[in-house]
Structures are given as structure tokens and as C-alpha cells.
């Protein structure tokens, strides 16, 4: 029996790119659930690794030598250095704190997990379909990856809004940058290398600043939660 497929499968390169993009989005959703600071940082590292792999795939498939450099640099910075910096900055936070629960960020969501995921699916749908409606065509990667990268950006906003702990908010900001990297890979894979590198080092500064802010915050209220920051509330 032969049946004509109504939606033809994408080719190998677009298919791989789409699978990686979907993986990035799924890891973004995973950040809603992580209960430990360490796991949250690991999830971010995994997401960054996926972006680097995608850059490498595009470099190989489209013969863009710049992207090899970019893939290497983004791997070194986002998978190794930024998580390392974060871990270094946050190490020892708990020794003054109260017991082993110091890196516990479980249940910091302001809604239940299932409701948050449903909300984020709605937001992601908005991003996906609004970008699809624009009808952008990229010579390098399929439009699906572009639409999903927009969903990653929007879902990272939801993450920052819904989780009330500084660690998730910082990681949400970093993963937003991952979404933007994905977008730039799709629409402007030939973006001058120097610009990409500037973005990456920007991220390093952000990691330092956020790490310090988290430390300061933890020093003041002895927890990673932002639920107690109510002194300015009327």
C-alpha cells in the first residue's frame, strides 16, 4: 500500500536542524522543572552544546568556515566557561546558610508546573505562528528552526517571569541569548564573526554580573528566592 505523505519529510540537513531546534526548546521547557541550582546550570550547558552542534552542522553542510570558529568559541564559552564561572561564583553560598537545602530552587514557580507549561505552550504557539506568518525564507536553514527559535526566546521570558528564584531568572536570561543565537544562525549564518564574538563576550560579562548579584541577594536574604523581596510593595 502506498500512501502519499501530505507533509513531506524535510531533507537530512533541515531535518537535523529542526530536531536540534526542537531539542533546544524542550530543554528550555525542562528549566521550568529543575529543582537544584546545579542541574539548572547543567541544563543550560546542554542547551548551549546543542546550539554549538547546530553551528557545526551548518558549517559542514554550507561550507562556512567562520561558523567553525563560532561553534568552537560558543562551545568553549557557553558550555565550559559560563557554567564554570557561575559554579565558582555560587560555590560556598550555602556554608553560611542553613543546611544542605541552600541550592534548592524547587517549587519556586508562581503557578503549578502543569499550568506553567500550558501557558508556555500558548506563548510558544504565538511565537511560532507569528514568525511563520512573516514568511521569512533563509538560504541556510529551514524556516521552522527560525520559528522555534522565536518560541525559545518567548518561553525564556515566561521562565524568568514565572520562577521566583534568582538562579532560574539568570539562567532564563542566558538561555534567552541561546534563542537569539539560534535565530542568528538561521537568518544570518554569514553574520560577521566579530559581531558574534562580541555577543558571546557580552554574555560572559552578564554571567559575572548575574553571579555577583546572586551572591549579593543570597547574602541579604539568605536564600535564592525572590519571594521575600517585598519591602517596596505598597
Amino acid at each position: 500500500m502506498t500512501v502519499a505523505a501530505t507533509v513531506a519529510p524535510p531533507g537530512v540537513l533541515p531535518g537535523t536542524a529542526n530536531v536540534i531546534a526542537v531539542g533546544v526548546l524542550l530543554l528550555e521547557f525542562g528549566m521550568f522543572r529543575q529543582a537544584l541550582l546545579r542541574d539548572q546550570v547543567r541544563l543550560y550547558a546542554a542547551q548551549s552544546a546543542l546550539i554549538s552542534v547546530l553551528a557545526l552542522v551548518v558549517a559542514v553542510a554550507r561550507h562556512l568556515p567562520d561558523l567553525y570558529v563560532l561553534a568552537g568559541l560558543s562551545f568553549a564559552l557557553k558550555v565550559v566557561i559560563v557554567p564554570l564561572v557561575l559554579r565558582r561564583l555560587l560555590r560556598g553560598l550555602g556554608e553560611r546558610g542553613e543546611g544542605p537545602g541552600w541550592t534548592d530552587i524547587a517549587g519556586s514557580g508562581s503557578l503549578s508546573l502543569a499550568s506553567t507549561v500550558l501557558l508556555a505552550i500558548g506563548v510558544a504557539a504565538f511565537g511560532v505562528f507569528s514568525v511563520a506568518a512573516l514568511g521569512l525564507r533563509s538560504p541556510v536553514l529551514p524556516g521552522t528552526a527560525l520559528a522555534i527559535s522565536m518560541a525559545v526566546v518567548l518561553v525564556s521570558f515566561v521562565l524568568m517571569i514565572m520562577r521566583r528564584d534568582v538562579a532560574s531568572q539568570a539562567i532564563g536570561f542566558f538561555s534567552l541569548e541561546n534563542g537569539v543565537s539560534l535565530t542568528s544562525l538561521v537568518v544570518a549564518a554569514g553574520l560577521p564573526l566579530i559581531l558574534e564574538v562580541v555577543f558571546l563576550f557580552d554574555l560572559l560579562v552578564a554571567a559575572l554580573v548575574f553571579g555577583l548579584l546572586i551572591r549579593v541577594h543570597h547574602g541579604r536574604v539568605d536564600s535564592l528566592s525572590t519571594a521575600e523581596l517585598t519591602s517596596l510593595r505598597g
Binding site: V3, F29, S112, A124, F129, P142, G143, T144, A147
Partner: protein, 320 residues
Amino acid sequence: MSPVLPIPLVQALQVATIAAAAPVVSGVIAKVEARLQGRAGPRILQPYYDLGKLFRKEALAPEGASWVFLAAPLAAMTCYLTVPLLIPVLTTFGLPLGYMGDILGGGFILALASFLVAVAALETGSPYAQLGASRAKTFGAITEPVILFVVFAVALITGTDLPYALAATVRSSASQIVRPAHLLAAAALFMVILYETGRIPVETHTGTNEFGMIEEARPFEHSGPYFAVLKWGSAMKQLILYTILINVFVAPWGLAASAQLGAVALAIVALVAKACGLGVVVAFIDNTFAKLRLFKITEFASAAFLLAVLGVFTLYLGGG
């Protein structure tokens, strides 16, 4: 050249294979699970002995239970015997009755069986069985949207929602397998199957009574042959769902392309082997994860929903 079997016989063999092989798949899972935990575990054929023992025992019904209580297990069994007619159990080509219903039709029949068991549980008046029935229906309603979106994904890929058509599409080329929509839909369906068959992380699949029980709590008041039919039915439901996942989504290979005796026999062996393989994966998951608290099951369902919805999204964008 082996003899060609008449088509009605092949059709009957589909049902017979599911009915006969279901307990052995459960036995393999229980054995593997026990080995992973360092126990010797029961014999692989133990479920058959259990069923044989129960069939010889006396049947009792709680006081005040009407005929529904006794009819429900048999009616549910009828449902489980009907579904294998609709799905590709042994053959790549659609058998005459295979077009009676699509994936949704099969889903409805399985839902009807589950509903009948729940009604029988309510009939008992036992709070524990009623709790299980109520929970099963509640969480069943939560996983329903996931199934719908999986069906949507299938329909967008094949233009129909006949299971035979999707299996043929998956077999047609490797690019049909690695496409994101297919991977996401298969993963979502697998999560639903974990729920429907009462496995970790939703429910512990053992005989011990506990508060978190859902499906396993329903047949508490049944006994003797009726309980045997319910147990057999739930093993068959498990094998039916495994068959759908394997022969429609994940690995539709090894099916008979003709009604020749050799090909059909090979298909039976292949099906049981593949189902046992999937059972080993399930046993591994059983031993790797902790059971979710009852109110965390919505998180599990929302994750499955996310996968299914993303699959449909990528299809709509034309890149799935």
C-alpha cells in the same frame, strides 16, 4: 514455498497472538525488573499459572452488586479482543476488518473497556476500588488531549489516520523516521502508554496495596474467573498498546507482506520479540525513576502534551 493461509485465518491469528502472548510479555517484564533489582524473580510463564489458578477458583460478588459487576469483565475482554482486528499486528497489508476503524476507533474501544471496568468498580461499593476508578477516569481525561494531538500528527503526516497507512509511511524511507514530528509523536505516545499500563513514574506495577494506586485498584473486589479475565485483559491492553507503538510508530518491520505460513509465523515471533524488547525498556524505566506523587502526574501529562503539540507545530510549519 510455504502454503498460503486464508485471510480470515490470518485475521483470527492477530487476535489469538495478542491474547496468547500478552501474559508472556508481562512475565518477561516482571522477570527483567526482578533481575535488575537483584532478585531471582518469578518464572516468565508465571502469569499463565496465575490465570490458570484464578480460573479454577470460585467467583464471589459483593453484596448488592448487580449483573453489571459480573458482565463488565467479559465486556471489557470483548473490547480487547476487538482492537487487534484494527491494528497491524502481523501483516503490512490491511486485512478486511482492519478498515472498520481508525486509530481513534481503536482508542474509543479501549476507552470503552476502561469505562466498563470503572463502572464495575463503582458497582462494588468498596471505597478503594471506587477511588481507583475515579482516579483512572480523571487522569485518563488529562492524557486524552495527548492522544488527540498524536493522532493529529499522524493525520498530517499520512493524510489519513489509519494505523496501516502510518506504518507504511514509516517503512517507506529513513527520512520519515528521523523527522521531528514523528519522533515527538512517538515519544508522547510512549509516555501515554506508560500511564495507560500503570508503570513508573505514574504507578507501581506490583500487587502491594498502596495509596497511589490507580488502575490496579479497580479490580480489587473481583475474584476467581472474573478477576482472571480482568488481569488477562489488562495484559492484553498492554500488548495492544505496545503493538501500536512498535508496529505503527517505532519499528514496523518484520511484519508479513503476504499471507504465507512462513511469513506469518515469522511475524508472530518478531512481534513477541519486539514487545519483549520494549518491555525491557519499560522495566529499566521502572527501576530508574521514582514514582510521582499523585498530584504530580499532571506534570507528566503536561510533558507528554508538550511533545505532541510541538510535533504538530513543526508539521504546520512544514519542517516536521
